[in-house]
Symmetry: C2
């Protein structure tokens, strides 16, 4: 989408992303088990919304419209109608037009797209928030809930862990086509954990996973699929986390910035977005993310930039192979060459195109509806030098996010520019 | 929302709304039970989308963006990710940006709002579609699914039939405050069935309910709530239907009309929309739909019209008392006077302000996500003289829709004008 008005990210906030293995997450191995509870969906959403208002100094009454990214609240938390849930967060939001946007794991990115459309339509100050709670049920039940992002009747039966199996299928095809090894792919996993270990908000901030561990299946890193044709192609370390959490950002037009008393230099500008949707259950080539490629082409074209201009990037690494395929879909690497980027350190924090500097979905965590919102917030934070121990050394001018739903069926790419 | 560009409804289509008591619906009393199945969510959605394309002569490739209204596909059909489901309907849609919008029973209206924002943002031809299948489970289980539109933790326990109980609470409060009887309210029910009996697409097209039946509880019209304080205030005849079905419309800017080879006179113009969201679980006054009133005020103001200008209207009669409260929220009647409008025939097909000419949610049916889309399509069809036996005699110039989610927590009002 070519933007007829200038649009800015004013700032935002997020909750820590937590779940099993996180020190604050209450489960049977935690000393507080039975005496306190983890945050609910509403608590995560409210904390993100109010955090975004507080950290930017924006009054809730100044928010003119809002969009909530959430995938499966009805299932994990018995809660839908997320727009009306969200305005409970702050009395200043009561009565405001808030609604929910859903595109599986791209729900957060789609909430931002809806915000951009609203600003282009004529609103001046809007909010995108995303949240998900997934730890309310077992991993097995949760995998069934998440399988609603696939074509249930045609794809559910591939495995009880439907999405892990679908991406094992991609890993298998990719490794065969390009003679790539598990170790080649594991470089993105090692990078994700190394980055997350520097990120206080990351789900895996205290868990160490090195290249050796991520390269080989074994007792502490099992292949868990039942599907015998795919089982060998996915290990626990290849997977993103089952996380709870929320994120929210505030966006504004130039007129909106004036209303808020903000200067463009306080902000990051959105240059363009690309959005594409592929038909559920109809993937043409398992070695290509063609829907993401389509969205990226639109985003690049409408921003007047190309892959070489990108200096910081957030990609949707729902599984390790996905990050590799993302490098190729976004034009950072030629087909079959994606693993080399990570292997050579080019996508590390100090590399040429730092990707997923806070740990990505694999180690920062993946509270589904929050992820696309967090991606844009992370680019904002890197551009404004707010990333602490995982801050990239040179402040980047141009950034890109790629948020994906299902098996590359909904995709949103957003280009950003630091205003200095 | 004041519209910075002119926006037109080009046309659309819908499936018949079906469910128990409909002659084509397969259930245990149907002769085909066990030999054929009712349409799935995907089939309803696809039929509406392709019907809209065919009836308007628009090529799928000309659709630039789409929004799907659906409330609870994850629960009733194990299916989310509705944007990627929708593009399966037609190869010409593959790759197009489609996403789902959710605001409980206002999901369809919100999909249209997203279309309007997208057109104002710069798109020229867009589609809003809505669909729901609810007959896949028992009415009791379905009521639990629909309760995800309330605040689950705080409101679910009011009754196993949560929403019927919440509106029984409104009926009780309204009758007490204004000394109104069940018979006073039943006039809207008798009107709904009379209209639906003339409508070939209506769920209740063959079921007769007259004023006497709708006024009194009894063996054939039971009060079914368990909550003893509310039980007497809601009968089966007061309720909207558990329906399956889909609806879709195509909207365009002036530039879009040129691309499609359409003239404004072929279309109905959207003058404005109003959207408001109240906090879940926090209704200030059970006798007022304050969120809908807020949305209506915005819609009237931005269209430069008032209630007296409205010549045809679709309101969200999820229960009988809701239609009465809608009359008041929309400014058609003073507080406490809503029942008189229906009693005097003013909202009948031949009245001053015909409301729900096809039978409304009570008798046309209520496939949740489709309802808000169907409302706008019905205004289009009345304005263009396409309503057959239930066509209102004078072609109306100005119309209004009011689509509501939950207990008046999300509300969308749209004003329309016939272009002649």
């Amino acid at each position: 989408m070519k933007l007829r008005r200038r649009i800015f990210v004013v700032g935002g906030d997020l909750t820590p992303f937590i779940g099993k293995m996180h020190p604050d997450f209450i489960w049977k191995k935690h000393p507080d088990f039975g005496t306190r509870e983890n945050p609910t969906l509403e608590q995560s959403l409210s904390a993100a919304i109010n955090g975004a208002l507080e950290s930017t100094g924006v009054d809730a009454a100044q928010i003119e419209k809002g969009f909530i990214g959430n995938f499966a609240g009805e299932l994990f938390s018995n809660q839908g109608h997320m727009g009306a849930l969200a305005v409970r967060a702050n009395a200043g939001l009561h009565g405001k037009p808030f609604s929910r946007v859903e595109g599986a794991c791209a729900s957060g990115g789609l909430a931002i797209v809806s915000c951009i459309d609203a600003l282009l339509a004529g609103y001046d100050v809007v909010m995108a928030a995303g949240a998900e709670v997934q730890t309310s049920v077992s991993a097995r039940d949760g995998a069934g809930y998440l399988a609603r992002a696939a074509h249930w009747d045609e794809e559910r039966s591939i495995d009880e862990f439907t999405f892990p199996a679908m991406f094992a299928r991609r890993a298998k095809a990719y490794k065969a086509k390009y003679d790539v090894t598990d170790e080649d792919i594991a470089h993105v996993v090692a990078k994700a954990y190394a980055n997350a270990n520097k990120n206080p908000n990351a789900h895996m901030r205290e868990v160490k996973v090195d290249l050796a561990h991520a390269s080989k299946a074994g007792d502490t890193n099992p292949c868990f699929l039942a599907n015998t044709e795919l089982k060998d192609h996915l290990k626990v370390s290849d997977c993103s986390q089952v996380s709870d959490g929320g994120a929210a950002i505030i966006l504004a037009s130039e007129e909106g910035l004036k209303k808020l008393g903000k200067r463009p230099e306080d902000c990051v500008e959105i240059l363009s977005y690309g959005q594409a949707t592929g038909p559920l259950g109809q993937v043409a080539d398992y070695t290509v993310l063609d829907t993401t490629a389509l969205a990226a082409q639109e985003a690049y074209r409408d921003a007047g930039i190309g892959p070489d201009d990108v200096q910081v990037c957030e990609v949707h690494d729902c599984f390790a192979v996905t990050e590799v395929l993302m490098y190729e879909a976004l034009g950072f690497a030629a087909p079959g060459k994606g693993t080399e980027l990570a292997k050579q350190g080019e996508t590390g924090i100090e590399g040429r195109i730092p990707v997923n500097t806070g740990g990505g979905l694999i180690a920062f965590g993946h509270p589904v509806g929050a992820t696309g919102v967090k991606q844009v917030l992370e680019i904002f934070r890197q551009m404004k030098g707010l990333c602490g121990d995982y801050q990239i050394p040179n402040s980047p001018k141009i950034g890109l996010t790629a948020n994906m739903g299902g098996d590359d069926r909904s995709s949103v790419c957003i280009t950003l520019r630091n205003v200095e």
